[in-house]
Chain length 309, copies 4
């Protein structure tokens, strides 16, 4: 890792110049009607360093639907309450399958492979639902604390849109329930999960929100220890092996940073000991990761040599 | 990452003291008759730092069967010849399945998930077989260069033992051939693969052999650039996501280093920019990784805080 | 096929004598609390010949939960309305998997393998739900017509018991819905399906109910043509290949008659051109078919040589 | 079943008239180079009744490659030696998968689903290889006895062509061997299997060869009892549920007779108590069954009402 701080400002300029002519690449997620309406030609990126500097470019203050990126914060919140005990309910191995598949879940008797596929996220939601009167509000409050901003909130139009087409998630949740690994009613868990997915953030907020994971579990600006150092590292490890759908190997290969992506086009990546990086562009590649977002992160680690490998 | 060099000497002492009373944990691999004869109560560990120091403890100079650890060096050798083109023949995603399963291979039409499951290693062997008159001898020579030792060699008794029970590998190779992804005769590739697996090393040799991957692709003592920096990092990334059988997520979580394990009980792990670590103990856990070897590596990153996360 | 009518009366006596000392074999279905309460030591058998004779023995007038046996009549009812068009919504191949598996359903994109696994029965229920204001009442009325008895009815206690534990069926129905192969609301279809399963019959009623399938689609006592001859034969064919869970091959081998079984312990079997046979005994074998029921049918075809093969 | 003998002569004429304008439908099997050369515009059909009459039409005396049709006779031959004990080595359930898939075989630990998929046929060949010095010659002799003709023989050109491209079958055999369910060397079993597949017959011979299965296990012209009546019926049952690749349900539905097909375009079907029917036309449908052959059999049971259902 470079001992000298890279010049993030000019690096972001370089990346932005490369990305601009490519705006429009990929496909906007179409399975949720509300998401399908998002204009594709947008790109934002923000870097929040552990000494409190914020670098950003493009549409870094535009709100977007965090979608599966929230799975990272839901896991972290569950971790603050349950610690390693969460792993009694789900695994931490890459699935090798599509994020919404039921095949492995049936073979492995209702124990999801990891917290970042839908099945695992539903179990995490169930854990939160047992811990909090209103689990999705607890998550929004947690994310507000992490972003130091009151603007993080649900987009109920998206949440309703997701809930009305959530047949696959209902199927997954019922199958988990059938195996006895869901304690709350399926309807409550799926509704909460859809609301969680609808949470909106900006790149600048998201970079800030991820910074405690680069900082041994400590919020940089407040010094509050949310997770012990070991737990923070381990969440990063799970992100690296499972955080980018069925392309975790490819992503580790190209980018070399722990990251969590969402079908809204956002990605949060962690540079341990240094910074958190958020990127957003709605066009997705075939693996459901933001096409230009992945490109931008790959360029970042090329230019800074900050890949963890 | 700690800016100060950890005191590897005393850390190895600490680990060894913890490991000694646990010698005998796990199960020696039984599926190859010759391997089943190895006494379980052995443990060795060696650290080779990029400035050329070697720290070791226990049975670090005992020869053992490298088995799947050789898949790492076979991949690196193929990379020196083919570069990224190897990925036209196989993937780099975790499989989510057993290392010797044919299920995914059939569904994915003969394209192995990654170079560290048997199917992928057989394709790499096929690539080498097309490049070298005698691919397994080329590999031994490559490993001799990497270890700076003439002692790396086949154990033909083990190789023959493996070949005579290699029905599963023959099945995998024929299935790959059926899909047109194997260019050399199955019998040649499987024989070469069995010989490759039989190669013996010591921990001290193995630590040395891995050091170029911690050093941007450059052999530390000779300065020879075997791979460009980017390729070396990327092999580390593939190791992290795919190197420890179906427990890559758990291993990343516990140890936090790129690593490749073998059923002989050896593991090579990379501390990027710092050192390579080899550990060996023949007792395997349920995931076919060395039980005490994994423990020792987890303790190492606990004590040195050198997890890449 | 024997040209002479077998002496069904004495054959039933013979079978009953063989069965009596074995009462209690198998396991009563336990996954539905209400079914688990049924005393296991019961056995009834009835044969209804096409010339209107009824032979019966044992508990042939005891009501039991028809469960999956109703899938046969639901298919027949759908057939009277849709004819061969039902096959646009589902297949007619054996599944090779458990009756409540989601694996194949996901791989085959929501098109169930056949009408006798749960997924297929839910699609048939959906077809009926689109045809009738109250599909389960339509089915009861159809079965009353087929049995010539007003006693066929729901057991709402069983229906409620099933609905409250129907997570697996909800999962299946939501997955089908996700693939666009379910037109009515999941909640309506699953509720209707649970009620359908709860329908109670006696062996004597059931033998009568199946007789039109032995009679080219014509109700023997009324002469009413419910299905054309070809359709009746084809339903028999689907029964033979798919009617007895994942043991259709074994059942065809041992019994040699088209049949449909249920976890309540009932089985209806068809002797084409001759008779319908109903048997009931609550103890199930490992394949979820009535253990003594299967035995009794195998003995019947041994003694009468009426296997269709 | 019609009490009166149908007029097979005029029925064959009718079918032939319908088939003639459709000659060329389907695809000739292309995976074996030698088979791909067979001209598609051929059709033959023969009916051999238990009273010794032979009806035939079209290319009923042209030799063709029996391919998987031989699996029926290999099973029958194994049965004459081992009886029900064959079922200790393989199952009798439909597979629900492609005939040459390894997926189920791996999940079910080397025990093939039934004798008519490749895996099961290889186990049957292994059984014969343990019983006979030269198992494929034993099979040819058995088929000569069944056809009452010396003309049944190998086509070594086809056998060699198959052997040289038999990677999938080698993969299957090695996987079975890995699970300990193959006693002879893989190379011997696969070679024998390829020779078995290459056996050529005519429709007239094939109809004769199947007649003992319609006749309670007795060769009609000689009165020799090859199998007891029960075993003959049971082989018919296995044919019905497993004999026509992954289309057994559809075939039972359309044709309603036990049958075994081959990729050479031949099908043998059994009308229990009445006759055996052989049909051949090289164009295959998507399920690898002869397209016109299936059509012709469906028409036969339509016209004669001899479906077993």
């Amino acid at each position: 890792m470079a001992s000298q701080r890279p010049d993030y400002h000019s690096i972001l300029q370089t990346i932005y110049a490369e990305v601009l002519p490519r705006l429009g690449e990929g496909q906007v997620a179409s399975y949720i009607p509300e998401l399908a309406k998002v204009p594709i030609e947008q790109f934002g990126m923000a870097i929040y360093t552990l000494d409190g500097q914020l670098f950003s470019i493009g549409d870094a203050t535009t709100r977007f639907s965090a979608q599966s990126v929230t799975k990272l914060f839901a896991l972290a919140l569950a971790y603050t309450r349950e610690g390693h005990a969460v792993w009694q309910r789900l695994g931490k191995e890459p699935s090798g399958s599509a994020f919404n598949s039921l095949v492995q879940l049936e073979y492995e008797r209702g124990v999801p492979r990891n917290p970042f596929i839908n099945a695992g996220a539903l179990v995490i939601t169930d854990i939160l639902a047992s811990r909090f009167v209103d689990s999705e509000i607890a998550l929004v409050q947690f994310m507000r604390q992490l972003t130091d901003a009151k603007t993080v909130d649900f987009d109920f139009k998206v949440a309703d849109s997701e809930l009305s087409t959530a047949h696959r998630n209902f199927a997954i949740a019922h199958l988990i329930k059938d195996f006895g690994n869901m304690h709350n009613p399926v309807s409550r868990v799926v509704r909460s999960y859809c609301r969680q997915c609808s949470i909106t953030v900006t790149c600048e907020e998201l970079a800030r929100a991820g910074s405690f994971l680069a900082n041994h579990g400590v919020i940089p600006w407040s010094g509050e220890q949310l997770l012990d150092a070991s737990s923070a590292k381990r969440i990063n490890a799970v992100m690296l092996t499972c955080g980018t759908y069925d392309a975790a190997g490819e992503f580790a290969y190209r980018v070399g940073l722990p990251a969590k992506s969402g079908v809204g086009g956002g990605i949060i990546a962690i540079i341990p000991g240094e910074a958190a990086v958020a990127v957003w562009s709605p066009g997705l590649d075939a693996s459901h990761n933001s096409a230009l977002g992945t490109y931008a992160l790959a360029r970042l680690t090329d230019l800074t040599e900050q890949s963890i490998f």
